[in-house]
Symmetry: C2
Subunit: 130 residues, 2 copies
DNA sequence: CATGACACCTGTAGCCACTCCAGGTGCAAG
DNA sequence: CTTGCACCTGGAGTGGCTACAGGTGTCATG
């Protein structure tokens, strides 16, 4: 059994964030020591690590919760997990596409700027009438 | 002179967002009609459009404000604008790189999953001990 | 037994950039 | 006179934390 500090170290989730997850009902309330300190089991820490990995993959907390709910190991869960992961992949792809457009636009702007003309082409373009 | 609805239409910034920008001091308080309705000049609308373009390029509002502050047309502003734009481009690039890593990881996970084995490889990997 | 350095506790507020809502006012057309 | 629209204000909610302030518990050292 571990305190919140150890749980944080072992899961990679910060102390504040663990408490936030508890507040928002994402993880169950852990046991408490006599002094009122939170006391985490190995399973609790596993759950936190699971959520951390989901977050690292960009899943929103709601998805993390859904995926966590699928870990009972029933037959249909694989299809559901795959669906969640694929839709996340789509979302990530969409974001990448969007950011690439932005990057191209920024590159063009800054390249124009290297002319170092009197009036700044970046500002001119942002100010343009249409 | 235009009401807030027209200002929104012409700038692409929503009514609520315009009011939010005003609340947060990003744009100056506009004139008011006798009835207390906000009344926007062409210049006001230009400012909103400028901010909209900055946001579309992913600049945070603080950058938008800085860029807006550079539009007096003094000589040094071009270098400053370029600096802001380049650092924004870096930030966008970093985000893209990060998202591409995530996408690769998600792709690998979902591909493994097509095996449709008994235990879901996605969940297994998220649950793994390290 | 006192002291100091920690780890932990609660509750609250702040971040970003909006978005939405309830409940009210002003004004013109039918 | 009523209907409908555009507008008003003030406040709360979103996601996912993060950062306090001010208190308590635990342990080693002097």
């Amino acid at each position: 059994m571990a305190g919140i500090g150890q749980a944080a170290d072992q899961s990679g989730v910060s102390i504040e964030t663990i408490r936030y997850y508890e507040r928002s009902g994402l993880v169950p309330k852990p046991l408490r020591t006599a002094a009122g300190h939170r006391n985490y089991s190995g399973q609790d820490i596993g759950r936190l690590r699971f959520i951390k990995r989901c977050r690292d993959l960009g899943f929103p907390l709601t998805d993390a919760q859904s995926l966590l709910g699928l870990t009972d190991g029933s037959m249909t869960t694989c299809a559901e997990a795959k669906e969640i992961a694929e839709s996340q992949r789509m979302a990530v792809q969409a974001k990448i596409t969007q950011l690439q457009k932005i990057e191209t636009a920024l590159l063009r702007l800054t390249e124009q700027c290297s002319d170092s003309a009197n009036s700044c082409p970046i500002l001119l373009e942002l100010l343009a009438d249409e």
